[in-house]
């Protein structure tokens, strides 16, 4: 395909901060680092993992929570190309920059002190309102928090598509099982569907276990031009396909959520990403799905064709979405049980799975991993492969 980004770039290094250790320290009242410190730890870990020297990096993308220049200053990186982006856009932009010849080795650095800095995602100072008007527009009626937006969406989706409360609970249960096998995960005590149903509502119909964690930490990746990546020695993980489609019309009045359930965006991205990768849903050995809330999982299963539209409840209950049964989703525990690194932890988990380095939560013979996010109806996919 002309202009395709398939195979243009590969991940050669991944890293993270000590999510578990720092979570304990934060809960004990300490502030181990700020967002820049966590990002720096993750960067050092990714750089060591890649085996390259720091001065080989010629591109830098930082996460949305830190200033681009300050991260570059702290890490001592003068670069040919750079920017600021969320996790999925950052991976896509790194591929684009490499394809365009603007950079050959790009460092992606994310750090977030959201827990110790007591960032609020709902209420009078709800984070994200500057970027998404829906996060703040309905506040006079008490309608606030991204959880409430997904609760509103979930109620209608469950009604229209016939998803039961217990079927939605399969998400939290499956991801907790994965986390129980992952020493990097924060929440490792297995839960049952009964535990899920008995857990308190936050914004009904969503329960506590439908919500992501809030914790501090950092994640980094080093992405290199494919030829350079192969010359480095250890097995690089290729980015085989990327795709994106954004639903913006009617976003503040929740139309993409309540009328479309993001489906047109995901179907457009599915066509793009699978064609670019010359692969289909049947080739995927594991899925990583951005899960600020459990509802993202049935939406993606239907949107990307892993099950029929309206069939997610049955798929999750009968086929399964866990390491024990069916198509494994969020094999590290995801945002619900591993760590809330805003899509960044999903990228490094995808790389670990393709490398075969995921330890007790490794998917046997994992060759291809599909990452999907659909936050606020902005659907993005990345396919990682050996």
């Amino acid at each position: 395909m002309t202009g395709s980004l398939s195979g243009v770039a590969s991940v050669i290094g991944i890293g993270q901060s000590d999510w578990v250790g720092d979570h304990s320290r934060v809960r004990a009242g300490e502030r181990p680092h700020d967002s820049y410190g966590y990002g720096a730890q993750a960067f050092l870990s990714a750089l060591a993992d890649s085996g390259i020297a720091r001065d080989e990096i010629d591109g830098l993308i930082v996460g949305p929570t830190t200033a681009y220049e300050r991260v570059g200053e702290l890490l001592g990186l003068n670069v040919r190309w750079g920017g600021q982006a969320d996790a999925m856009t950052a991976v896509m932009e790194a591929c684009m920059a490499i394809h365009a010849g603007l950079a050959s080795v790009v460092a992606l650095v994310y750090g977030n002190d959201q827990r110790s800095a007591q960032v609020n995602y709902g209420g009078p100072d709800a984070q994200g309102g500057a970027a998404f008007l829906a996060y703040v527009y309905h506040a006079p009626w008490g309608f606030t928090s991204q959880g409430a937006l997904y609760a509103m969406m979930a109620r209608r989706y469950m009604h229209e598509r016939g998803l039961s409360e217990a079927e939605l609970g399969e998400v939290a249960v499956a991801q907790r099982l994965a986390a129980s096998r992952n020493p990097r995960a924060l929440m490792r005590k297995p839960i049952s569907i009964e535990d899920y149903l008995a857990s308190p509502f936050i914004c009904e119909p969503l329960h506590l276990f439908d919500y992501c964690l809030i914790n501090d930490g950092g994640v980094a990746l080093i992405i290199a031009e494919a030829g350079k990546a192969r010359s480095i020695g250890r097995a690089p993980v290729a980015i085989k396909g990327v795709g994106r489609y954004d639903l913006n019309r009617g976003a503040t009045s929740l139309e993409p959520r309540l009328l479309d359930y993001y489906l047109p965006a995901q179907q457009a991205v599915a066509a793009q990403v699978f064609e670019m990768a010359s692969l289909g849903p049947e080739d995927m050995d594991a899925l990583q799905i951005y899960d600020s809330f459990s509802l993202h999982i049935p939406l993606a299963l239907e949107g990307y064709g892993y099950c029929p539209v309206g069939g997610a409840g049955r798929f999750m209950r009968e086929t399964g979405i866990s390491l024990a049964k069916g198509l494994p989703v969020n094999t590290s525990g995801g945002h619900l049980s591993e760590s809330y690194m805003q899509g960044w932890n999903h990228q490094i988990e995808a790389v670990r799975q393709v490398r075969g380095e995921a330890g007790d939560h490794q998917v046997e013979g994992c060759r291809h991993v599909h990452y999907s996010s659909d936050v606020a109806g902005k659907a993005i996919s990345i396919i990682y492969g050996a």
Partner: protein, 132 residues
């Protein structure tokens, strides 16, 4: 915590003034008649920037609803509901259902526009149509 506050852009102000009169109005596109919510400078259906403020029939239907069990604002102690209402004229409005709540399913129930004094403002709310 603190109290909730409306977003007040240039285009929102006339709507809040209409709410204060208990006579809610929205912008109607001068070219295609599409109503805008939230208020804004351009019609996203046809891109016309012409509009006039128009009355609403007051009728609508519940698309979805939630109940908050956690406190986010001083002026909204839990538990409380929020409803997404599709106005008969088209726009989806997030508001509160006041008065008696439906027995059984909420989704699809007919509602009518009403008003509620809240802090120092008057804002829209909805009641079940049967209770009118």
């Amino acid at each position: 915590m603190a109290n909730s506050q409306p977003v007040a852009t240039l285009y929102d102000a006339p709507m809040w003034q209409s709410l204060a009169r208990e006579h809610m109005q929205l912008q109607s596109c001068g070219h295609c008649g599409t109503l805008r919510y939230p208020p804004g400078p351009i019609c996203s259906a046809c891109t016309s920037m012409d509009y006039h403020w128009t009355d609403l029939s007051g009728g609508g239907q519940i698309l979805s609803w939630v109940r908050f069990h956690r406190a986010y604002f001083d002026d909204h102690p839990p538990p409380y509901n929020a409803v997404a209402v599709r106005l008969d004229e088209g726009p989806i409005v997030v508001s509160n259902l006041i008065g008696p709540e439906p027995e059984g399913e909420w989704i699809g129930r007919r509602v009518r526009l009403t008003y509620r004094c809240h802090l120092d403002r008057t804002q829209h709310a909805f009641m079940l149509f049967e209770q009118s």
